[in-house]
Symmetry: C2
Subunit: 546 residues, 2 copies
């Protein structure tokens, strides 16, 4: 069945409060190119994490044939899609953004039911998602991102003539994208991975997250409508459902797939990395996995601004029930400092509300992780929200431990995904000596006076080796989407510390440079022609030229 646009009705009788006002009819099937997948016996429902209630419709896992078809359509689309101009791809990305805005109310309606996140977050994340799509569109329209390089021939050079040689970035091929549970829009169906892969010129096959299939369907429909209206080839985008890891593993192992984008657990990311490395042709996996995002507090800063730092840390820690990759899960506090900081933090945590988490599994994992920390010898519960502990809600917590105990116990270096943090106390010398023992991180934060920062360059350089982004006198949550963002860090925070999944540099993950030697002008990509018809910036004989 061809998807021909929005249907304004909804299934009667099922969750009328939910569906009555939605423009999008939820069918519960995959998008296989421009067609919808069949219903199947293997169906699963989203679950409202606040109530445990199943949400209609049921989502049908695609058949093996449908998965194969989606991937082969992507392969067929590749030569056509990768040959489009940047402006044509930009128009597609802008059309996706427009379609998403047209169903923003549906997203705001369905999202909280599936994720436990509030409507305001849905609207904010919708804006971030459309903003990302338009950022990549603007990058394509500008055109200079391809890193065009031209070396002109020198036929008379001695001892050997120099050939005409020109290079630019070209897309890798079809890409598999896995939706994240914690960013149901900005890191999901039309999120940063999809937007950057489509910008690069790669068709995308998306695996929906089982926690928010309805949001996936709403956004998937937007991408398909945009593809049709902007004349994209069928197969430029497909969206597959399916619980468990089976469908995803088929995607990653399929010879057509040339790269993988993933945001999720360390075990999930590692499984994809292993599968990709074991292929006859290994492919890159860009997995964002886990990070505790250390925060180092220097003495004068914590003396001067202890209360303010506690307030900022508390907000960063509990935002979105602590379900951010950049959540500050580890704080280093020098001995003899921070009385006001700790007092304020305790007060804030104790009066903090508990929070619904994204799904039952995440909530359970959080409760187990915090129970493990609480039961670890040497670890003290500094503060615990006084709200009632329930199976369905996360209770904000703060632990403390001595730096020497921390060093001894690798378990304490791990992530509690949720609104909890571990404060490690010791002398400044001990803290500095501990930093090289940390695993790779997405971010590392330092609070200090400017004088302290200058006096502790060793701490800064130790943190630089372990993180993708260094934050001074701020907090790591709130990942600005821009040209200079690095949202990626040394393993295991990501599978590939050379990459970022946020910002325009994310497009580089899905490209490789190709060189043309001795080609006639007319057969070169426009980006590489002498007359520079696109007016892009290029490196011509080593000189940046526009």
């Amino acid at each position: 069945m061809i998807w021909r646009g929005r249907v304004f009705s909804s299934r009667p009788g099922v969750h009328p409060g939910l569906f009555a006002i939605m423009k999008t009819e939820l069918l519960g099937t995959s998008f296989i190119g421009f067609s919808r997948g069949a219903d199947s016996a293997a169906r699963s429902h989203a679950v409202n994490p606040a109530s445990g209630e199943k949400l209609d419709p049921a989502y049908a896992a695609p058949s093996a044939d449908e998965v194969e078809q989606a991937i082969l359509l992507a392969e067929q689309a590749f030569p056509v899609y990768s040959a489009l101009s940047g402006r044509e791809r930009a128009a597609f990305l802008r059309a996706i953004a427009t379609e998403i805005e047209a169903v923003a109310d549906d997203i705001a309606e369905r999202g909280p039911w599936e994720t436990g996140l509030p409507e305001a977050r849905m609207r904010g994340e919708t804006a971030r998602t459309t903003g990302q799509l338009r950022m990549f569109a603007a990058m394509l329209e500008d055109g200079s991102w391809v890193d065009a390089r031209i070396e002109r021939a020198q036929p008379d050079r001695q001892p050997l003539p120099k050939p005409d040689l020109r290079s630019m970035l070209r897309p890798l091929g079809p890409v598999a994208v896995f939706c994240a549970s914690n960013f149901p829009l900005a890191f999901s169906v039309a999120g940063g991975d999809t937007a950057s892969a489509l910008a690069a010129g790669c068709p995308v096959v998306v695996k929906a997250h089982s926690s928010h299939p309805g949001l996936a369907e709403i956004v998937g429909g937007c991408v398909i409508r945009a593809a049709i209206s902007s004349g994209m080839p069928e197969g430029v985008f497909s969206l597959l459902y399916g619980g468990g890891r089976d469908v995803g593993m088929v995607m990653v192992k399929h010879p057509v797939i040339q790269a993988v984008g993933f945001t999720g657990s360390r075990s999930g990311g590692m499984a994809l990395m292993e599968a990709a490395a074991a292929r006859p042709q290994p492919i890159p996996v860009y997995a964002e996995m886990s990070s505790v995002n250390p925060v180092v507090l220097l003495p004068a800063a914590v003396d001067e601004r202890g209360v303010q730092i506690a307030e900022g840390l508390f907000a960063s820690l509990t935002m979105g029930a602590g379900q951010f990759c950049t959540n500050p899960g580890l704080v280093f506090l020098p001995d003899g400092h921070g009385e006001a900081f700790l007092g304020k933090l305790r007060e804030l945590i104790e009066t903090a509300p508990s929070a619904v988490m994204l799904n039952h599994g995440i909530c359970q994992a959080y409760q187990e992780a915090t129970a493990d920390f609480a039961a670890t010898p040497g670890v003290t519960v500094l503060a615990h929200s006084f709200t009632k502990q329930t199976e369905e809600r996360a209770v904000p917590m703060v632990f403390t431990v001595n730096v020497r105990r921390f060093l001894e116990d690798a378990e304490l270096h791990g992530e509690m995904f949720g609104p909890a943090t571990l404060i490690v106390r010791g002398s400044l010398e001990e803290i500095e000596a501990t930093l090289p023992e940390l695993e790779g991180q997405l971010t590392a934060t330092l609070h200090g006076t400017p004088e302290e920062l200058a006096a502790h360059a060793g701490i800064v350089s130790a943190l630089e080796r372990r993180a993708g982004r260094l934050v001074f006198n701020g907090f790591p949550t709130g990942v600005e989407v821009c040209h200079a963002m690095v949202h990626g860090g040394p393993f295991p925070s990501t599978s590939d510390g050379r990459s970022t999944s946020v910002g325009t540099m994310a497009v580089h993950r899905f490209c490789r440079a190709v060189a043309w030697q001795g080609f006639p002008q007319g057969m070169l990509p426009e980006e590489l022609r002498d007359d520079n018809p696109l007016g892009i910036r290029r490196l011509v004989d080593g000189v940046s030229t526009c």
Copy 2:
């Protein structure tokens, strides 16, 4: 023992013809930072491939402690070396080039004994090696390569303030480099991998190739002298001997090592990839492995320029005994064309001299591969050099096969490393349909008239997907060292088709972007300060600025 400069004596009595005129005394031990390794019982000699004669001195494998020490010195050097300015690193690279030029005669003297390559090649490759070092030095002096990006704060932005965010490329950490047998200088001790890693700011631990340990020692001494004279920290460079794969595997598995550069066999590269992926912290491996570099001849071109193409192909095929990664080992020729081409090629091959190969193992592998091809049903020997076949020399050969047989037999897609090529014949339609079945390649070449090129855009795009560099009406050997070179291609030609090992883009292999958020000016790297003290090109709020 500290290396204190050149020793003008030589060991008396040993190969007097070889050593009498050499400035460099060959000691036969590793360079462990600024010290020399101890002699050991595990020693091996280079062998003159022309005569089978062992060459003095014996080269001692380092002890496990020495390997560990070299790697730990690299780790200790990293914070110091990576903090140096681009100009300081550039001075080091220029000093290496100067030191190498000072021993060019030693290289020209020792090289042919170890490699079977002529003196002229040694001198040419020496110039390429020093040229590469100076190219990276110039890149560092220019400074813009770091891709500096600045997004200025917007504290009043709604709904959220924008933080000050700045990013640039930073080095990964200590790098392991493996010398290549076929480029004893340009892809060895101070070759492209080492030069690009040092340029990036990464200390390098080099594993010498057992075929040319004397060249390695001569050049290793140059790097050490340059490091000392330009004030680099000890550990910025070490050079380890050792036969077999033991020492190399220790390097790749060592937690300090953060990336690997390798040029060699597919089995060797695959072993490194597997070891790197299986580490607790996986690291990138840049392995250049194997490529048959397909050449497609279009009808009008081969009708018009058959003899000329045969001459060019012959020269490309037999240069350096065919021991180039970019050797054209596969030629597609349309049925009903190419009589003059084939006649000329046969004539040239039949009168071509046989050639000494780099070592006995390579020569043996070549003879086995050509014997296998000759014995493959459907494969015909088109031409065979009339020079005497000996165990020590490679005889140029050309085979032909029908395109349908070629498609059936994956063995025929493999590399014969040496002066042999396989001509695949079929209709142009069959040839075009075959191209997507090829493995990833470093290069792909097309000969055609401009009209043919325009008429066969499908062939160009099929080749683009499978190669890093596309050559029109030329030949793939001769890899220009410049900004636009891509010497890397889809797997299995390289382990990572997103990378190049030649040209300035090679530096990106050893870097990752790091972002600084909210840092005071004085604590930012110079490249990211508002006043742009280095005068480099930067992307400021999305606009390229100088």
